[in-house]
């Protein structure tokens, strides 16, 4: 399960002490000594000479976040995001590892592209960038990409996805699932039956009908998830469901898990918070795929995440240029930024209402995504000897979102001007501070 072929990134040798934070937000405040990239001591720590000190009274210490679903747009659309700018956004958002989706230009359907993305991530050095490989050549859904070659490349690809489009052909999906079992990999599906969503622009329901948006029915997602769960069970393969958006999908996942299917699922922050009421604005900053659903869908998603039926939060961070968003709805590209706002939205939707405590936040934003993505260095317990991939959060602080001030090159955030709770104050990658007080280090 832990065939990590790439060499470990360099860890810092100088010592660092985090003073007065509460691990998982529990118990009494403690000091944490970080040395040589690992947690060396937890408790009452004497600060070594020359050590950097982070005063963290009142703050929550968590394992660094892992995002299974990020669009870094490099190669191809570097005008909207690069591996470097996306890495900065990730570090500022509390992430220590991200998975970069394959729908770049050219598509990451071969080891040359996946290795390029991985190397660019290493150069940026702010988070571990793990490229996702495409399931099919060119995302066309016709022929399997060279999954084995990508898995054995320096990038060590372990997650494959045609995200952006669905692997719609059931036979091809069966083959992908079967083939992936030999690679210790997971197939991450963008669940969207394409025949049911031709021309779709928004969630098919009362709002879209009233406002005249062609509808994207919930059943288009649910039918593919049901089909894929059966295929995964048949192949004894690992299936990951991207951006779950409907209550019906939650029911399918529960059923499949009870039958022993190796299925995991993610939900985006925006599907936890935002609903199709936003269609009223006609502003494509709210256009996303799958679309924003109803309030009752969002409520079911929040409950499913708390319960573990949905395993984790993933951002679906999707930067877009102004000319692709400040337009009429039909012409706009779907997607919104997510890396720097994810924690705050999780606090707003899950922590504040009491659906998750901070240990739960660690589970859905660090531990489960790291397990699903097969990252042995990430999502680890806060314990001595563990890698110092850490995130510090001030739970009492609030901030106002300003798209232009985010680290991404693009600025398409639906939370513009919104005041959100929970501020990431520091992120450490193997003991090195990558982000501190809203700035990249």
């Amino acid at each position: 399960m832990t065939a990590d072929v790439r060499p470990p990134a360099e860890a810092v040798s100088t010592a660092l002490v985090i003073k007065g934070a509460r691990p998982y937000g529990e118990g009494e405040p403690v000091d944490v000594l970080v040395r040589d990239g690992v947690i060396a001591e937890i408790g009452s720590v004497t600060v070594p000479e020359g050590a950097e000190v982070i005063e963290a009274a009142g703050q929550v210490l968590l394992p660094g976040f892992v995002d299974l679903h990020t669009h870094l747009r490099e190669p191809g659309r570097e005008d909207t995001e690069t591996v470097e700018s996306g890495s900065a956004a990730a570090a500022l958002g509390g992430y220590t590892a991200v998975f970069a989706m394959a729908n770049t230009d050219p598509v990451a359907d071969n080891a040359l592209v996946t290795d390029h993305v991985w190397r660019r991530g290493q150069e940026a050095g702010l988070v571990d960038v793990h490229p996702v490989g495409a399931v099919t050549v060119g995302l066309k859904g016709e022929k399997l990409a060279e999954l084995g070659t990508m898995a054995k490349s320096v990038a060590g690809v372990r997650v494959f996805s045609d995200d952006g489009v669905c692997v719609a052909d059931p036979l091809l999906m069966r083959r992908a699932l079967e083939y992936s079992t030999a690679l210790d990999a997971v197939i991450a599906q963008h669940a969207e039956e394409p025949r049911l969503t031709v021309g779709a622009q928004a969630h098919e329901g009362e709002q879209a009908s009233r406002l005249g948006y062609p509808g994207w029915p919930a059943s288009a997602e649910e039918s593919i998830v049901a089909r894929d769960c059966l295929l995964a069970l048949h192949a004894n393969a690992r299936l990951h469901v991207c951006h779950v958006s409907t209550a019906g999908t939650v029911d399918v996942l529960r059923w499949a898990k009870e039958r022993g299917t190796k299925v995991s699922a993610e939900v985006t922050p925006h599907h936890l918070l935002l609903t199709d009421d936003r269609l009223e604005t006609y502003d494509p900053v709210n256009k996303v795929n799958p679309p924003l659903r109803t309030g009752s869908d969002a409520e079911r998603l929040r409950a499913a995440l708390a319960e573990g039926v949905v395993d984790c939060v993933a951002t679906d961070h999707a930067p877009h240029a102004p000319q692709d968003k400040d337009t009429e709805w039909n012409a706009a590209r779907p997607g919104m930024l997510g890396l720097q706002t994810a924690l705050s939205v999780v606090v707003e939707t899950m922590v504040k209402p009491g659906l998750l405590d901070w240990r739960g936040v660690a589970r859905v934003m660090s531990e489960r995504p790291a397990e699903i993505g097969n990252l042995p260095e990430h999502g680890r317990p806060l314990a001595t000897g563990e890698p110092a991939n850490l995130t510090l959060v001030d739970p009492a602080a609030e901030w106002t979102v300003r798209g232009a001030e985010l680290a991404s090159i693009a600025a398409n955030t639906p939370y513009e001007g919104m005041r959100l709770p929970g501020v990431v104050t520091a992120t450490l990658l193997r003991g090195r501070i990558t982000a501190r007080e809203g700035k990249i280090r």
Binding site: R195, G205, E206, A208, S209, R210, G212, Y213, E328
Partner: protein, 315 residues
């Protein structure tokens, strides 16, 4: 009134004021050899059409010209849109060139709303002349004007809207406006041509046209919008055949006989004679199709008046 983007949210007083103005304009111009009023002299009105249209564009053009506005027609097929210019940049360019009002037809729902946002600084008024499958407010206003003429009032009148409701911006605008003005609306269509969540709208739904006709004061036939029936292949079949559609939902002479004597027949056009509506019904005294077109000019004159010439125009 700064813009006319939708009938959803248009209050009864404003709608009635526009209809009353249209009525006044109609009577003012009645019998005049030269149909020209000086009301909008010096004003520039641009029609910006991203979809093919004859009746709506010409109706707006005549309305503007009868009010002495300078009317300029821009169509997507013969403009910089063909060179890849965005709607936003095209609109900002036209506003900078001096447009006081932009009348837009666009295939995207919400395009007129977006336009009004982009043009806020320029102060240009926007009229929605049909956006995707969302709304076509002046069509609903001209339908209401026609029904008022024929029926006197819309209060407590029962009106059937029949056919392709799913793809119809005319139906959406009429549902909102007719119910605001006090009418009851019944939608008659196969389930495949009704929008999801239709039960949340202020209407009743029926699949039996014969059963509805004896109790309605007006029947509004809709165009079957084959061009919007996307999906390709077998999924394109929203109904089995034109023949079956006609049998179930077409307004035949036999069906017309079920209507009360005073009932009015409307159709926004263009009509598919023989399928949606029988030839004889379309040309019968009950049919108000030609009056709809005629009233359309006066209603659009009234809308331009309220946007550009009335006391509230600067608000």
């Amino acid at each position: 009134m700064k813009h006319l983007l939708a009938t959803d949210g248009l209050d009864a007083a404003t709608a009635t004021a526009v209809l009353d103005t249209a009525d006044e304009l109609k009577h003012t111009l009645l019998g005049r050899e030269v149909k020209k009023l000086p009301t909008l002299r010096g004003r520039t009105v641009i029609t910006l059409f991203y979809e093919n249209s004859t009746r709506t564009r010409v109706s707006f053009e005549i309305a503007g010209k009868w009010m002495s506005a300078d009317v300029i027609n821009v169509s997507a097929s013969s403009s910089s849109v063909n060179k890849g210019e965005s709607l936003r940049d095209t609109a900002l360019t036209l506003a900078a060139a001096g447009a006081d009002c932009m009348i837009v037809r666009h295939p995207a729902s919400g395009a007129a709303h977006r336009l009004s946002g982009w043009l806020a600084e320029a102060g240009t008024s926007v009229v929605n002349a049909g956006d995707g499958t969302h709304e076509h407010p002046t069509q609903a206003l001209l339908d209401a004007a026609t029904l008022r003429e024929r029926l006197g009032s819309l209060q407590d009148r029962r009106i059937a809207i029949v056919g392709d409701v799913l793809h119809s911006r005319v139906a959406r605008s009429n549902i909102h406006l007719l119910t605001t003005l006090g009418a009851e609306v019944v939608l008659v269509a196969p389930p495949t041509l009704l929008p999801v969540g239709v039960d949340k709208l202020p209407v009743t739904v029926s699949h039996d046209l014969d059963a509805e006709l004896p109790a309605v004061d007006a029947v509004m036939m809709l165009r079957v919008q084959a061009e919007r029936m996307t999906g390709g292949g077998p999924g394109q079949s929203f109904f089995p055949s034109a023949r079956e559609y006609s049998i179930s939902y077409g307004l035949s002479e036999r069906r017309q006989a079920l209507l009360p004597e005073h009932a009015v027949v409307l159709h926004p056009g263009p009509m598919l004679r023989g399928m949606e509506i029988a030839h004889a019904v379309a040309d019968s005294p009950a049919s108000a199709v030609t009056e709809q077109v005629r009233n359309g000019v006066h209603v659009r004159m009234a809308v331009l008046y309220h946007l550009l010439a009335s006391e509230g125009a600067a608000a």
